[in-house]
């Protein structure tokens, strides 16, 4: 039995890890505060960022120059945001920046796009319904089957029978193979919902990193290879199917660049923002004149105003995250932490993070505390207890006290 004595050390490690999981969580539970950034929208009238903040039970409307506005003034400088109010009041200008305005046009070009890392880092089931893109009906209908992408093309499976429709599969596979498709897919992008105004099918990246546009038109396969510019390694795509039919979707490359694929010859257009696809959220509010893009990172938020027509960068506004004093304080006594969940991923897995080494000096304090506790504990701390307290701080100390090391 003697050899099992050393399993005691396993308990030590387990307890330290367990505490580094629990204690930070409890700390967060008690102290976490939401970081709020002011609502920011780029004015198509003054061509400057305007912000809306809620402070002391009052809305404060400002622009980047420090001018403050009433609610009515605010509406008038942000006609693309407040167009419904303006239209109702009959205050919507006929033209703006030399372009005629109508509620219909504004609606068509006002759209939203969001990206969160957990969309990419998420388990998914690779089955897709292929809608009829040209049904002639206003509403899309479920196709009655789903397809999977295989080595040799696609297979359509009927949910009623759970069997493959070989004729259909063959027909669509042939079209893909004819265009040089080499399955299986690295990724498939599309919007598998009938709640969209039209359907553009799917975009499939094959094993050789060739991108194909794949859809069903008049019950026939439509396949088109899209030329990817050389330096782009697309890892994620989200199709848009927006009313203005300008692009097929957004593409994120492995070097964290954002592109749109234009409906005009499938051109890749870079959107001039900086972000990290593993960590940052993207929020886009588009309008006829500007794309309002907000990139939320761990350290703050950057707002970009981008020209809707040529995608040139017009202006940026940075918000720094107010340092959370409680989180800052925790660095001194929570030297590292173990987490299984992350809002940046839907996968559960252990994730370690540690504070910079300098904070670990505080561990000395815990060692002293341990020594001072001697009369109460009625035992001298063992070298092991001192070492683990020195290295792991409060976790080691707690473990020492619990296990009476």
């Amino acid at each position: 039995m003697k050899q099992f004595k050393h399993i005691n050390k396993v308990i030590l490690v387990i307890m330290i890890l367990g505490l580094s999981w629990l204690l930070p969580q409890i700390w967060h539970l008690i102290t976490d505060k939401a970081t709020r950034y002011p609502f920011t929208y780029f004015s198509s009238v003054n061509h400057t960022f305007c912000t809306l903040e809620y402070e002391k039970e009052e809305f404060i409307r400002k622009d980047a120059h420090g001018n403050t506005y009433t609610e009515e003034q605010w509406d008038s400088i942000l006609p693309m945001f407040s167009f419904r109010q303006l239209a109702t009041d009959g205050l919507l200008p006929d033209t703006l920046n030399g372009i005629a305005l109508s509620v219909k046009d504004i609606r068509k070009t006002n759209y939203y796009f969001r990206y969160k890392p957990n969309e990419l880092f998420s388990p998914s089931i690779p089955l897709y319904p292929l809608f009829e893109s040209m049904s002639g009906r206003v509403d899309l209908e479920m196709p009655g089957d789903v397809f999977r992408v295989t080595k040799d093309g696609v297979e359509f499976i009927n949910p009623k029978t759970n069997k493959i429709n070989f004729t259909k599969s063959l027909k669509y596979s042939k079209s893909l193979l004819d265009k040089g498709f080499g399955g299986p897919a690295k990724w498939v992008a599309g919007s598998p919902t009938t709640r969209k105004s039209y359907d553009e099918g799917y975009f499939i990246l094959d094993q050789n990193s060739r991108l194909f546009h794949f859809k069903r038109v008049n019950d026939k396969p439509f396949v088109k290879e899209i030329k990817i510019p050389e330096n782009i390694d697309p890892i994620f795509m989200k199709t848009t199917e927006y009313g203005d039919k300008r692009f097929y979707g957004f593409v994120i490359s492995s070097d964290s660049k954002l592109y749109v694929i234009s409906c005009n010859k499938y051109k890749f257009i870079n959107i001039p923002i900086r972000f990290d696809y593993k960590n940052d959220n993207i929020m886009l509010m588009a309008n006829l004149f500007y794309w309002n893009m907000g990139i939320t990172t761990d350290s703050g938020k950057v707002c970009y105003a981008i020209n809707t027509n040529d995608f040139s960068l017009v202006d940026t506004l940075k918000y720094h995250k107010e340092p959370n004093k409680m989180a800052e304080a925790s660095k001194y006594f929570l030297p590292f932490s173990l987490k299984f969940k992350s809002y940046k991923s839907n996968y559960i897995k252990p994730r370690f993070s540690a504070v910079p080494l300098k904070y670990m000096l505080v561990n000395l304090f815990f060692v002293i505390l341990l020594v001072l506790l001697k009369p109460i504990r009625k035992q001298k701390p063992t070298p092991l207890a001192i070492i683990i307290t020195l290295i792991t701080g409060i976790y080691g100390l707690t473990t020492t006290l619990l296990l009476k090391l």
């Binding site: 005691n8 897709y128 559960i348």
Partner: protein, 224 residues
């Protein structure tokens, strides 16, 4: 001797193991009846759609079966050993103590894992009637941690029961709760798919911990 150990544990636990097996079968019958009703209500295509595109998982009820089975069989096997102090008898049998414990725990593990495999295969075969491979894979990877959790639960009950000191036993129970908690951190189907290895390490560690408890029991630890 191996046979004799298995014979003893068999006599002791057979009815409970049978109850677990029947429990597992009933859970699956329920799950498939419910699935059938969902197909009738929602239609095949719609049900596939919500499974694929809206993270709907059809077999959530199964989540509790392995952990309950593990806890039950652990309690049934170990609590009487401790309360009636029979463990001393088992450890005095002419074998090395570690071997005696390995045989006792090994027997339950073999049967528990067998029941879990039967349950798992039935589920997969049943699901294969209604769903394509992609959904089957998602189901498999979603339920696999639950079964691992059941095995871990059993081992941890043994770990806690064999510990001789109450103070330490409470610490062990807390450790066990943390261990088991890691299997229930997400309801997203397939959330553990990148982490099956860690989820397998946990039962392995739990298995090791049993020997720590036996060692402490043998040494008659009284103070820490």
């Amino acid at each position: 001797m191996k046979k004799a150990f298995f014979y003893k544990e068999w006599i002791k636990t057979r009815w409970f193991l049978l109850a677990i097996l029947i429990g597992g079968i009933l859970v699956e019958i329920y799950l498939f009846l419910k699935l059938g009703r969902s197909f009738r209500y929602a239609g095949h295509e719609h049900l596939w759609d919500v499974i694929v595109n809206r993270n709907q998982f059809m077999f959530h009820t199964l989540k509790y079966f392995p952990i309950l089975a593990g806890l039950l069989i652990g309690v049934v096997q170990m609590i009487p050993e401790i309360v009636e102090k029979r463990l001393k008898l088992s450890l005095h049998l002419p074998l090395y103590e570690s071997k005696s414990i390995t045989l006792m725990v090994g027997y339950i593990l073999i049967i528990l894992i067998s029941i879990f495999i039967i349950s798992f295969i039935t589920l997969i075969l049943g699901a294969a009637i209604y769903f394509p491979l992609e959904i089957i894979k998602s189901i498999a990877i979603t339920v696999l941690p639950w079964y691992l959790c059941g095995i871990t639960a059993y081992l941890l009950v043994v770990f806690c029961c064999l510990e001789p000191l109450w103070r330490r036993r409470i610490i062990n129970i807390l450790i066990s709760v943390c261990f088991l908690g890691t299997y229930f951190l997400s309801s997203v189907p397939g959330a553990y798919s990148k982490n099956i290895l860690t989820m397998m390490i946990i039962p392995a560690i739990s298995f090791l911990l049993i020997y720590l408890s036996v060692f402490r029991f043998k040494t008659g630890v009284q103070t820490n």
